[in-house]
């Protein structure tokens, strides 16, 4: 029971990371491998705001979310749009965006390494016990889960119950057809990329309240997010939520029953199962 709940709480944060990535890849068609660096950067900014200025991480969300939105918007319009324009087909864009975001990955990682060094960081926030069904958990984990759920639900409401959100989903389905119904595809793609970056940054802020972080862990989180996105099906919100919870659970199970050093192996085991049996995602339909 303890393991189940711990896994679910972890899965909440994973959901947000994956939702950010699925917006960037599913709508803007950019395979953003620097996604994890956005997360790590948000961890460090939250740490800096909290220890330097005493700003509550939950209030920090209100600063970090919008800032990450603007930064990702600029990254998309300056760096990614030229690639979108020059690509002759989707495969070329995929290769180009993978290489370009590798560049960003190392650039950001290098800059953060210079600013903060390579050691591990953490801070104390709401580090008091909170009991659910007779088991006690860190209050920070519970708060992070609730905040993640609030953000995920608002994203769902936005995508499925507003015009803007419908436009985003239309571009995800077919950019060319979206243009026929007067959707500004370029703006919508930029918006989705920025929104995805912003959500990933929020996930970073929440993660930093209960997780020990360092400058070089970005790739591992990108990997987790990618596996969740593939498991859930690209662009599928319900799938991503379910897949994130499954991943969180599996990781916690393996870490507590086998060895904490095998979490990546647990991720890969899930990944291989998905590739072999459901490469189109949990709820995906087999392509005709």
């Amino acid at each position: 029971m303890l393991i189940l709940l711990t896994g679910l709480l972890l899965g909440g944060t994973y959901t947000l990371i994956a939702l950010g990535l699925t917006l960037q890849y599913g709508v803007a068609r950019i395979m953003n491998l620097a996604n994890g660096e956005t997360l790590v950067a948000a961890c460090f900014v939250t740490f800096w705001l909290y220890t330097g200025f005493g700003i509550n991480p939950l209030l920090g969300l209100l600063v970090i979310g919008p800032v990450a939105f603007v930064v990702n918007w600029l990254i998309y319009t300056w760096l990614m749009q030229p690639l979108v324009k020059r690509a002759k087909n989707r495969g070329m864009l995929e290769v180009d965006s993978i290489l370009a975001t590798f560049g960003l990955l190392f650039l950001f990682q290098g800059l953060m390494l210079q600013a903060f060094g390579g050691s591990y960081f953490n801070y104390e926030f709401l580090a008091q016990p909170f009991s659910i069904m007779g088991n006690s958990f860190g209050l920070n984990r519970v708060v992070a889960f609730v905040a993640a759920a609030v953000i995920a639900v608002s994203l769902y409401l936005f995508l499925y119950h507003t015009d803007r959100g419908t436009a985003v989903r239309a571009v995800a389905v077919d950019p060319r057809a979206a243009r026929l119904v007067a959707i500004d595809v370029r703006r919508t793609a930029a918006f989705a990329f920025a929104l995805g970056g912003s959500i990933t940054a929020c996930a970073g802020t929440l993660l930093s309240t209960f997780y020990t972080f360092n400058t070089s862990m970005g790739v591992l989180f990108t990997m987790k997010a990618l596996i969740i996105v593939i498991m859930g099906g690209v662009g599928d919100i319900r799938g991503a939520v379910l897949a994130a919870l499954v991943l969180g659970l599996t990781e916690t199970l393996v870490a507590s029953l086998l060895d904490p050093g095998l979490t990546l192996a647990a991720n890969y085991a899930l990944f291989i199962l998905v590739l072999l049996f459901r490469p189109q995602g949990i709820f995906g339909k087999r392509p005709a």
Partner: protein, 322 residues
């Protein structure tokens, strides 16, 4: 076999060049020799990488995994088997790993492959650490041999020559033709009856086996092998940067990237070790935005434009003369 004259000339020139390079350890030693070992190491790995990733346009990040598997093939069996047998084990282990990865991912679209290889080295490193701590006692294995830097250099040079010969033979074979069609348009390839997954897996296995051999050859240099060092993910990224900087359209393209970049990285990691990530980031961005076809591809395009300019100016003078 019907071999065109110009290819025989290139082949002869290449072998002659390799023969000249073989004398290098006789004239130099110390720092320059160990730098040459590094250059030769990356020359072999990058060319092997480009064998697969060049024609298929699939960015493989599995180099570090193959390298580590090769290193461990030596580390585990070095006390019981002679070195040539260890090389064969590395070949088998590298090819086997490539086939497993290929079976899981190369039948699907390219993005799955890239993602899968991204964490592969780290994954195998974790598993090796886990096995060693739980069943093997200590983390790390000793490799003691009589090899000097000179021996390593010669072995790597021989490996590079073999990789080049293989690349040349593959290009001339049906497999090479199939891969070029797949790289240009996968749908066309399937329609003309190419088994795309099989062709990719075979070539990935060849490429992986070579990289594993490079890892096996380097094992004696480290003498104490740990999972972190053998499966260092940086190797994969450096290989991609060097090969793409040089360009993968020609077999010798990666070499053009390997020589300068190894020297630069050696200097940076010696003098500014904290800047390596920044430099690698800038190199990736430069590849995408400035040199999408690599240095050799860029030169080729320039050269071709020059030729067509000359032709068109010839045509206009002919017009005027009339």
């Amino acid at each position: 076999m019907n071999i065109p004259r110009n290819e025989i000339l290139t082949l002869g020139a290449g072998l002659a060049g390799a023969a000249v390079l073989a004398f290098l350890p006789l004239v130099t030693e110390g720092f320059w020799l160990s730098l040459s070992v590094n250059i030769m190491l990356y020359a072999a790995i990058c060319t092997a990488w480009a064998l697969f990733s060049g024609p298929t346009h699939l960015v493989s990040l599995a180099s570090a995994a193959f390298f580590g598997v090769g290193t461990y093939s030596v580390a585990i069996f070095v006390d019981v088997l002679p070195f040539p047998a260890l090389i064969l084990i590395a070949v088998a282990a590298g090819a086997l790993l490539a086939i497993l990865v290929g079976l899981a991912t190369l039948r699907l679209s390219g993005v799955y492959f890239v993602i899968f290889t991204l964490g592969l080295a780290e994954l195998i490193g974790q598993i090796v650490t886990w096995v060693q701590t739980n069943f093997g006692g200590a983390i790390g294995l000793y490799v003691f041999t009589d090899f000097t830097e000179t021996h390593l250099y010669w072995m790597l040079l021989a490996l590079t020559v073999v990789v080049f010969l293989t690349g040349w033979l593959v290009n001339r074979s049906r497999l090479g033709l199939a891969l070029r069609i797949i790289g240009n348009d996968e749908a066309v390839a399937r329609h003309v009856g190419v088994d795309t997954a099989r062709a990719r897996i075979i070539l990935f296995a060849v490429s992986g086996a070579f990289i594993a051999v490079a890892g096996a050859i380097m094992a004696p240099r480290y003498s104490y092998i740990t999972p972190d060092a053998a499966f260092n993910p940086m190797t994969s990224f450096l290989v991609v940067i060097m090969a793409l900087l040089g360009g993968t359209r020609r077999l010798w393209g990666p070499l053009v990237g390997v020589v300068p970049f190894t020297v630069v990285m050696d200097f940076i990691s010696g003098h500014f070790p904290n800047q390596t990530a920044v430099i690698m980031g800038l190199a990736f961005l430069a590849i995408v935005y400035v040199l999408p076809d690599g240095v050799t591809g860029q030169l080729e395009t320039l050269f071709r434009r020059r030729c067509s300019l000359d032709k068109s100016s010839l045509a206009t003078t002919a017009e005027e003369g009339r």
